[in-house]
């Protein structure tokens, strides 16, 4: 048969083949349009989990960056170009964070990445950012003991959250006996190690400290709450310092409420409970329990009121709450914009060198500054839970507290500093005057 009709040829294609061809064509089209867009926009990577266990916390941060980009574009973008968000979903899967980070930098050619929540996700992307030399803004309070050239830490280091909170309890509530309760992973373990050393340096005896770890998502708190009650009945004022991770908090507070532990008897100060977490519980039995953060939604400053108004308008939800990591992203984003404008380039090397020293207003009325150790200065607030799920600020530090990359309380790190301006080193030992190499 010398000729074959077109129809026959098409029919001889398998269904699968056609599908693959179409998919290929679509991919091709997508990459062409992507390449075209890259010429007149600056790309900003957003690396937050939108599915899986961490979606509960990280989705809001993705929305925050989209909101900030939208606002910036309304002002005309930066360097005469519009900003364009590239959103990927690492799905609460730590190795996937590294893959997605690589994809953002090599394929999408982003100039900066805002992302990560858990420390393990940050540790997983570190090698990628170092190898491909890009910038990560990390917005969550964390355990410290790290200062990397490619990472800017806009959340609180332990000395900007945990230590002031303990000071408050010692001074205002005259607490003598301490329960350090946390979820079993790196942030609570390191923070509790720092706190234990700090408490002992303040003369607290070993038998007055109880340390307790629970698995992720722990939901049966009966035994632990009963233990806390028992520990608190030794005749000394007792408080709980909680590094319990987000999700496990709801059953923990429910159990506290049900077993009748009131804040005026045994106050709980939490480092991972914010407005978002409280949105899932009835807070009336919890009134008076405390949280330490660098930002609260209820703080009344013109900047914060405007931010909340714009945010709720952007999300079209008049009840949408704001929280501390969101503010960290606001500060980090504005610092990055300022640094880019200063060096008139988005080249990561130039921006990294320009960032230390950059100042950006925070939402609570102060001006935060990027320090040479890539941490920022922040105020510390202690808030009491109110009946409506918000916090009432009962105490704040007199000024802004500079973030320590390396804790002064731990033997292994008290001589270390991070200085990417003078020493060009993330873990410089001030005793031996030597740089120990990589910063983590």
């Amino acid at each position: 048969m010398p000729t074959k009709s077109i129809h026959d040829i098409a029919a001889s294609f398998s269904r699968r083949g056609v599908l693959a061809a179409t998919a290929g064509l679509m991919l091709g089209l997508a990459s062409i349009s992507g390449a075209k867009a890259a010429d007149d926009t600056i790309k900003v990577g957003v690396l937050h989990s939108l599915s899986g266990t961490m979606a509960i916390s990280e989705t809001t941060l993705k929305d925050t960056i989209l909101f900030l980009i939208d606002e910036q574009n309304k002002k005309g973008g930066v360097l005469g170009k519009k900003l364009e968000a590239v959103v990927v979903d690492p799905a609460s899967n730590w190795p996937l964070f590294a893959e997605k980070a690589r994809e953002l930098i090599t394929k999408d050619k982003v100039s900066v990445v805002f992302g990560c929540w858990t420390s393990v996700s940050r540790k997983s992307v570190l090698p990628v950012f170092k190898e491909l030399n890009n910038i990560l803004f990390y917005p969550v309070q964390y355990e410290g003991e790290e200062s990397e050239r490619n990472v800017f830490y806009t959340g609180a280091a332990p000395n900007q959250q945990a230590i002031p909170a303990v000071d408050y309890l010692m001074k205002e509530e005259k607490v003598k006996r301490w329960v350090l309760a946390g979820t079993d992973y790196v942030y609570p373990r390191t923070t509790n190690k720092i706190l234990e050393a700090y408490l002992k340096s303040k003369g607290v005896a070993q038998e007055d400290i109880m340390i307790n770890y629970t698995p992720f998502g722990h939901s049966d708190w009966q035994t632990i709450v009963a233990d806390i009650k028992k520990f608190g009945s030794a005749g000394k004022k007792t408080a709980v310092v909680s590094t319990i991770n987000g999700d496990a908090n709801v059953p923990f507070y429910k159990e506290l409420g049900n077993q009748g532990i009131k804040a005026k008897d045994i106050p709980v100060v939490a480092f991972s409970v914010g407005e978002e977490e409280l949105a899932g519980i009835d807070t009336k039995p919890l009134v008076g329990h405390l949280a330490a953060w660098n930002y609260f939604e209820s703080i009344k400053t013109p900047a914060n009121e405007k931010f909340i108004k714009d945010w709720q308008a952007y999300t079209k939800n008049p009840k949408r709450t704001t929280n501390d990591p969101m503010e960290a992203h606001v500060i980090g984003f504005n610092m990055w914009i300022k640094a880019v404008e200063k060096v008139k380039s988005t080249d990561p090397d130039k921006v990294i060198d320009a960032l230390p020293g950059i100042e950006a207003p925070n939402l609570t009325g102060g001006v935060s500054k990027m320090l040479p150790n890539h941490h920022i200065t922040k105020p510390v607030f202690i808030g009491e839970i109110k009946g409506n799920g918000q916090f009432d600020v009962v105490w704040k530090t007199p000024g802004l507290v500079a973030g320590d990359a390396w804790s002064k309380e731990l033997d292994g790190s008290k001589d270390l500093i991070g200085d990417w301006v003078g020493k060009k080193c993330g873990n410089f030992n001030t005793k031996t005057n030597k740089c120990l190499g990589s910063g983590s």
């Binding site: 009963a226 005749g235 999700d247 159990e255 008076g288 009491e384 009432d392």
Partner: protein, 536 residues
């Protein structure tokens, strides 16, 4: 000279006038103290509480109790303070006169924990002789906690008049607590106090006795030490009882989560990884029911769970049947494919819920009959755990009765025991399969209603229960509901006795290791099915 004098006279008259005008506003220490509430300063508020409480003014009680409830409004501009009643009417706190409305600039006086304790102490001495029994009991208890020396007289006069036995005991304990710490109390009084507190025998008593300090007479220190010893040993016994109760409670949660799986996996043999998501769907059904009730029929809130139970059963059951008809029936006898398909399905369901309801936790409220706790001896039993235990046992009994006595139960047993013979007897096996799977899913949905009371309602809810559920079913013996019951309670109690010793993390690991060893020894679990049914 003259002008000087007249100027003085003038200023004298003027100041007289001023005093005259100022008098009504600042007539005495009580009014002064009340005005301090408007300063929004914690130390001022604390002073004001003390002065108002000891003033003897009849407004003292309404003011302090309003302060406790956040109904004391202060206007920072005019320094006026108002009490908003529970009925919505307001009075001026300084004069007691009714006011038409509280100005908009006024806000509730803020409290912190230190002030809350002062408020409790103040209310304690104010309500010791309240006509309400509950208020008197609470007052006596807050005096026991605050042990303010100033409360001694009111406590003693209240004790003389008190007729109710339990309030009398509480007042006696409050008096003992004050005397024990009063520096000028006699040794005899103090020894009596130690005995009274020892009789109370709980953790608060222990705290009080451990705190008496060193400046006490030797006999008192000795008596206190022996009292501490005897309280501790009795508390140790109670703590075993407490662990057993916690174990039962944890077991009931495990059982509730696993019953549905005992049917789909245990009876039908389907490895259903989407079981947890059925639990989650039940919890979200509860959320939706409560949302509707909150917006439309707030009076029905206490019944929300009763309404949610059948709805959750229907919703989860219908979704289960849909899954069985559309996916699982093609995969019978292929466990690996079933595992993968249902696991994929669980991800799909999670993400669907996340898209519909958002990734954050949803608030499911506790009805009043499920909040709080009661004391049984020296252990605290929370109502929500107690109800969940009862509910679980009820669900278990109903399910067992249904499988045993109903026609559909008979068909289900017949099909799972010998499918071909059942089919030859005229049973529509595929219909029974769908119904059985629907039943298992529906029961998982009911579990979701109960679990929404103690856990987060988030898309991840199901994931945290799926492993535990499989563990219970495998441990108890596949295909045997009684095995699931015994398995769940054994694991719960073992876990709760290990937890205080090994910690929550190690305890859980130890349980897993024990189960693995047990399964090595008895691969079919606690209660293995015997006979030909096993091979079918």
């Amino acid at each position: 000279m003259l002008s000087n004098l007249s100027a003085r006279l003038c200023s004298f008259v003027l100041s007289l006038f001023l005093i005259a005008f100022a008098l009504p506003a600042f007539a005495g220490p009580f009014e002064d103290a009340v005005a301090k509430f408007a300063n929004d300063d914690y130390s001022d508020t604390e002073e004001a509480i003390g002065t108002v409480a000891s003033s003897g003014n009849k407004l003292a009680f309404p003011i302090i109790s309003a302060l406790q409830d956040g109904r004391l409004m202060a206007d920072p501009d005019s320094k006026k303070v108002y009490v908003t009643g529970t009925d919505g009417k307001s009075i001026d706190a300084a004069t007691g006169e009714a006011v038409a409305s509280v100005p908009d600039s006024a806000s509730a006086v803020r409290l912190n924990n230190r002030l809350r304790r002062s408020v409790d102490a103040a209310l304690g001495s104010l309500t010791l002789q309240s006509p309400d029994l509950g208020a008197r009991l609470q007052a006596a208890q807050s005096v026991f906690k605050s042990r303010e020396e100033t409360a001694l007289e009111p406590v003693e006069s209240a004790l003389a008049k008190e007729t109710n036995k339990s309030v009398k005991t509480a007042l006696g304990e409050a008096r003992a607590a004050i005397l024990l710490f009063k520096s000028d109390a006699t040794e005899v009084q103090k020894l009596e106090a130690v005995a009274t507190i020892k009789a109370r025998g709980d953790q608060d008593a222990l705290a009080l006795l451990s705190d008496i300090g060193t400046d006490q007479p030797a006999s008192v220190t000795k008596a206190a030490a022996s009292a501490i010893g005897s309280i501790q040993s009795s508390l140790a016994v109670w703590s075993t009882v407490q662990n057993a109760w916690y174990g039962l409670s944890l077991g009931s949660v495990l059982l509730l989560a696993a019953i549905g799986l005992a049917i789909t996996f245990g009876v039908m043999g389907v490895i259903n990884m989407a079981h947890g998501e059925m639990v989650m769907i039940g919890a979200y059904t509860t959320f939706v029911v409560q949302e509707v009730i909150r917006t439309r029929y707030p009076a029905l809130f206490d019944y929300s769970l009763l309404i949610a139970v059948p709805l959750a059963f229907l919703v989860a059951g219908a979704i289960g049947m849909l899954i069985e008809r559309s996916i699982i029936r093609f995969l019978y006898g292929r466990p690996l494919e079933t595992l993968l398909a249902t696991w994929g399905l669980s991800l799909v369901l999670q993400q669907a819920v996340r898209t519909m309801f958002g990734p954050t936790n949803r608030e499911v409220g506790n009805p009043s009959w499920m909040s709080g706790a009661f004391e049984l001896g020296q252990i605290t039993i929370t109502y929500n755990r107690l109800w969940i235990l009862c509910f679980t046992l009820a669900v278990f009994a109903i399910l067992l009765a249904m499988l045993r006595y109903s026609a559909i139960g008979l068909e289900m047993r017949a099909v799972t025991q010998n499918r071909r013979m059942a089919a030859s007897m005229g049973i529509a096996t595929s219909r029974v399969d769908a119904l059985t799977f629907g039943l298992g899913s529906g029961i998982a949905g009911i579990a979701g209603v109960a679990l929404s009371q103690i856990d987060n309602v988030s898309p991840n809810l199901g994931q945290s229960y799926i492993i535990d559920s499989f563990m219970v079913v495998v441990f108890g013996g596949v295909g045997n509901l009684w095995g699931t019951l015994v398995g769940a309670f054994t694991l719960g109690i073992a876990n709760k006795f290990l937890e205080p010793v090994a910690g929550a993390v190690l305890g859980k690991i130890a349980i897993l290791v024990l189960i693995i060893l047990f399964i090595q020894k008895r691969p079919r679990g606690l209660f293995a099915l015997k006979g030909r049914a096993v091979e079918a």
